[in-house]
């Protein structure tokens, strides 16, 4: 009798339906038992732990060590200083306020786009999908710069169109706008995955029982997409807390913890205090994270049960679609405005002064920057699939499998995402600059940074999607004799397609655009396009910087197309269930025949 079959028959061995159920020592033992009997699962769990240990735990440990030591060894001084000084208390509070506001605004905008593009028959969905992903593409300070050019004191809009002379974009309001525009795509991608895989039949059931569309949304759709909403809130909150470029450019006197950490590390050469601030930054993040997990654990979001569903017509009522369309248009307009400004900047002599058209900035970038752009593309292309796949694996393991240390795995995979870039750099240099883990100067250290700093987006979208899928599908496979790997590859992964796609795209884009997270890790052979953009930006060569950004945007858009194609090709569900595209096509045909 094969061990797999045995395991399927033993009670409590099939994936637990309530992942949060308290694990007693007995069940803990059982889950260990089960691990042992599935070598592939065991190896996977162990490798994930080893990877997380090397690339997350060790660097974090070093950061903590730096924060708690001075020349004489261990000290509480920096913690006491961080907690007691009014300067830090103020920035701490401000960071949290900003994070909370931006989390809600970004998630709202992200939901609007995700809902409109997945659940309605609105026109231009493909276009809006691209537009909603666009803002993660460029280094964020470019958005800040566009805002200054458009809405600043000499802004084309504030001064030129409206005649306002003392417009002020600095401070909290400007920061909220810039961060919302920069981070809502993350919310969008997380929510899009979950809204796409949400089975229509539950909504249809409500509809046929006479519920209004609004009521259905409030009582069915919204609650069922809660995991995605909470994930999005969390991801945006963390990103806002961790963001350096935007507050640095447009924050005015509204400084945040990550800006302060940067100031202290690079300006005062005080790594200890900087690392301490980064650890303080982790406290609210980890709390938010634990709250999310606690909340999600108590509920079931299953709508994908493996029972046959048929393609249905999506929302098409005018009074619903039109306002959504208008909302999408508004935000798309803002995005086009911001990116149009960059685009324009790349084609003019001197941004802000001389608007004679020229191509000289592109020839500048292509002669001097071809190498770094190639590097960025190579590294992103390597890091993205690793991050995307690892993200799906971790999501699967933590949601569907039971093994000791599952919570630790969840939290560890989140840590690198939540600390400011400059501090993660310090952790990496402290860990990988000496033997036996000598990686500085190589591409590996950059790939590792990209992978582990960006993986949470893949994990979160994977987790939200998995929570929707009934475990009975897995169980059916297991009963039919499929091993863990086989059922993961042929059932779970295809269902995770959209989440995988989000994870891949996000990883790729972030790898192409990271600035402060790589500044201590780049080497002469592995220099990156973004650090060049940043350097040019500092030297006031805005138009050259803009030309870099435009080229990077083109590359990223192309890459996103390729990723989309590949994922659809490789992870096409084997069953005959119609793909989302086919359904759409069929619906369009149906609509046009009417």
């Amino acid at each position: 009798m094969s061990s797999v079959a045995v395991s399927a028959l033993e009670p409590g061995i099939a994936p637990d339906r309530s992942p949060g159920k308290k694990v007693s020592s007995k069940t803990g033992m059982k889950s260990l038992n089960r691990l042992v009997r599935q070598p592939i699962l065991l190896i996977t769990v162990l490798s994930v732990f080893v990877l997380l240990f090397i690339f997350v735990v060790l660097p974090m440990f070093n950061v903590i060590k730096i924060a708690f030591s001075d020349e004489n060894g261990f000290t509480w001084d920096y913690l006491i200083k961080g907690l007691s000084k009014p300067v830090y208390q103020r920035t701490f509070l401000r960071s949290i306020i900003l994070g909370v506001i931006v989390a809600f605004t970004s998630t709202a905008v992200g939901y609007l786009f995700a809902f409109a593009t997945t659940r309605t028959e609105m026109k231009g969905k493909k276009f809006f999908n691209i537009m909603a992903t666009l803002p993660i593409i460029s280094p964020p300070f470019v958005v800040s710069l566009s805002i200054i050019f458009l809405f600043g004191r000499q802004g084309l809009i504030t001064r030129g169109l409206l005649g306002i002379k003392d417009a002020n974009v600095y401070g909290l309001p400007g920061l909220v706008v810039v961060q919302t525009m920069s981070f809502f795509p993350v919310a969008y991608m997380t929510l899009r995955g979950i809204l796409m895989s949400l089975d229509d039949s539950v909504e249809d059931a409500a509809f046929s029982m006479g519920a209004s569309r609004g009521r259905i949304f409030r009582t069915v759709t919204l609650p069922l997409t809660m995991p995605g909403i909470i994930s999005a809130l969390l991801l945006v909150f963390i990103q806002s807390m961790e963001d350096f470029s935007n507050p640095a450019v447009i924050g005015g006197g509204f400084s945040t913890l990550s800006v302060d950490a940067y100031r202290i590390i690079n300006g005062m050469n005080d790594m200890n205090m900087g690392c301490m601030l980064a650890i303080m930054l982790l406290a609210p993040t980890v709390c938010a994270y634990l709250l999310q997990k606690y909340w999600m654990r108590k509920k079931s979001f299953v709508t994908v049960s493996g029972k046959p569903t048929q393609a249905r017509r999506k929302l098409h009522e005018k009074h619903i679609v039109y306002p959504l369309f208008a909302g999408c248009c508004f935000f798309t307009g803002v995005i086009i405005l911001l990116y149009g400004t960059v685009l324009m900047g790349a084609f003019v002599q001197t941004w802000g002064v001389n608007y004679v058209l020229t191509l000289k900035h592109f020839s500048y970038v292509l002669t001097l920057g071809a190498g770094v752009i190639k590097n960025s593309v190579i590294l992103a292309a390597v890091a993205a699939p690793i991050g995307g796949f690892l993200g799906m694996v971790i999501a699967y393991l933590t949601v569907r499998q039971r093994f000791p240390g599952r919570r630790l795995m969840e939290i560890a995979s989140m840590l690198m995402f939540a600390i400011p870039g400059i501090v993660s750099c310090i952790g990496y240099v402290a860990t990988f600059n000496t033997k036996p883990l000598l990686l500085t100067g190589t591409a590996v250290i950059l790939v590792a940074t990209f992978t582990f700093r960006n993986i949470p987006v893949a994990i979160e979208s994977g987790t939200s999607t998995l929570l929707q899928i009934d475990t009975s599908i897995d169980e059916a496979a297991t009963i039919s004799g499929a091993g863990t790997w086989y059922s993961f590859r042929t059932i779970t992964l295809p269902m995770l397609r959209n989440a995988f796609l989000s994870g891949l795209t996000y990883s790729f884009v972030r790898a192409m655009t990271a600035v402060s997270a790589v500044i201590l890790l780049i080497s002469p052979h592995w220099n990156l396009a973004t650090t060049k953009v940043f350097a040019l930006f500092e030297a006031s060569q805005f138009s050259d910087a803009a030309a870099y950004v435009v080229i990077m945007i083109v590359i990223i858009l192309a890459a996103m197309g390729i990723i989309n194609l590949l994922v659809n090709l490789l992870l096409k569900p084997r069953a005959k269930a119609p793909s989302a595209e086919a359904v759409e096509a069929a619906l369009q045909a149906q609509g046009s025949s009417k």
């Binding site: 691990l35 042992v36 009997r37 732990f49 080893v50 240990f53 060790l58 440990f61 070093n62 060590k65 030591s69 004489n72 060894g73 300067v87 200054i148 050019f149 600043g152 004191r153 000499q154 003392d166 002020n168 600095y170 924050g251 005015g252 006197g253 509204f254 940067y262 202290i264 590390i265 690079n266 300006g267 005062m268 050469n269 790594m271 002599q349 001197t350 802000g352 002064v353 001389n354 001097l368 400059i422 750099c425 310090i426 240099v429 402290a430 600059n433 000496t434 500085t440 201590l520 780049i522 002469p524 052979h525 220099n527 060049k532 350097a535 040019l536 500092e538 030297a539 006031s540 060569q541």
Partner: protein
């Protein structure tokens, strides 16, 4: 059944092993870093290793961390290759990031030379024992006031603090004159119209802070006159930017009327076509000295190349590149050409800027600045 047990044992062993290696790793690690926390200890070991090493190969590439501007680098790569055949490989960082990186990498330095950025960064590195002494023969005829008495770093350019004034703003405010003294900056007309970098992130801004204390406070960090001035200036500052050149951008884009920065940063932006005037404080301005130095314990095979590069940067040929590339930097080598438009220090009233004093008091002054001046209340948002 037996199989199962064996597997079970294997797993527990594996887990135990992972945990153990993990712990051991941490242990080792903390040990080594604990050792380096006291720089003195590692100094000797590293130096010992270097001297006892067998004759090292001489590398034909040189790794350099640089805070020079991105656009200046290609000229050096080409010229240095022509002169010596050595390939220059650079990583561009801000001066502060350069210091952080060298500090973080001190166990195993990845670059041989630190190049560019003001002397206060180099004094920090020197005090931390992260530089090696090198006196270039090229520096023999340099003005002595710019040299490091301890022989760690060599001066490569000098610069003076100036004011970048937005022409349009002053055209719209004909009754307001462009500032020509430090006192002018605190005038009520300039409320919310001054941009300056934050002294904690920008060497430029710290030079301003240190200049005020040397000009008005007789180098006393508790001088009331100096702190009162900084508070008055603070009332007019919109935003303390991160980078020292950002105030020039703010002035160039019309976000403020006046940006305080180094003259060469202002001249570069003017050369791009932005409508700015440049003025200097007539009551005496602060100066910076840019520097270059050997990184302590850098790649041993690059040492010869590193010394050659320092010689090259200090030579007339290397210093002439400032003029050739329109970098508006003022060379230290008296034989070097001075670029068009560059305002040399002898034409200005400069204070006798004490870089050593500035470097030694940096942490205290900035902490006091954050507590007494930049309390975040100045932002009108």
């Amino acid at each position: 059944m037996k199989l199962r047990k064996t597997a079970m044992a294997l797993v527990s062993a594996a887990i135990a092993l992972t945990a153990a290696t993990g712990l051991a790793g941490c242990g080792n690690d903390s040990g080594s870093t604990g050792g380096t926390a006291s720089t003195g200890g590692t100094d000797t070991t590293a130096a010992g290793e270097a001297s006892s090493a067998p004759a090292v190969e001489v590398s034909d590439t040189l790794t350099v961390y640089t805070a020079m501007s991105e656009d200046e680098l290609p000229a050096y790569t080409t010229a240095f290759k022509e002169a010596t055949g050595i390939t220059l490989e650079t990583v561009r960082l801000s001066a502060g990031e350069m210091v952080t990186r060298i500090t973080a990498e001190k166990e195993n330095p990845q670059a041989a030379v630190a190049w560019g950025g003001a002397t206060d960064s180099y004094i920090t590195l020197e005090n931390a024992g992260l530089l090696d002494q090198y006196t270039s023969p090229e520096a023999a005829n340099f003005p002595s006031q710019f040299l490091d008495p301890n022989g760690y770093w060599s001066p490569i350019y000098v610069g003076a603090i100036a004011f970048a004034c937005n022409q349009e703003w002053f055209a719209e405010h004909p009754d307001v004159a462009e500032p020509t003294s430090w006192a002018d900056l605190t005038k009520a007309e300039f409320k919310g119209e001054i941009a300056m970098a934050h002294p904690s992130t920008s060497g430029t801004a710290y030079t301003v802070l240190a200049t005020i204390f040397q000009l008005m406070g007789g180098q006393d960090i508790n001088s009331t006159a100096s702190w009162d001035y900084m508070k008055a200036l603070n009332a007019n500052v919109t935003q303390y930017s991160k980078s020292g050149s950002a105030p020039v951008q703010a002035a160039a884009m019309g976000e403020v009327a006046v940006g305080v920065s180094f003259a060469h940063d202002i001249l570069k932006v003017i050369a791009q076509g932005y409508k700015l005037d440049m003025t200097f404080p007539s009551d005496g301005t602060g100066t910076e000295v840019g520097a270059i130095a050997l990184i302590h314990g850098g790649p041993a095979d690059e040492l010869t190349a590193a010394q050659k590069f320092i010689d090259f940067v200090l030579s007339k040929e290397g210093q002439d590149l400032y003029a050739e590339n329109n970098t508006y930097r003022d060379p230290v080598n008296p034989e070097a050409e001075v670029g068009e438009g560059v305002v040399t220090l002898d034409k200005l009233k400069v204070i006798d800027y004490d870089a050593k004093w500035a470097g030694d008091n940096k942490t205290t002054l900035i902490e006091m600045f954050q507590e007494m001046v930049d309390d975040g209340s100045n932002v009108s948002s």
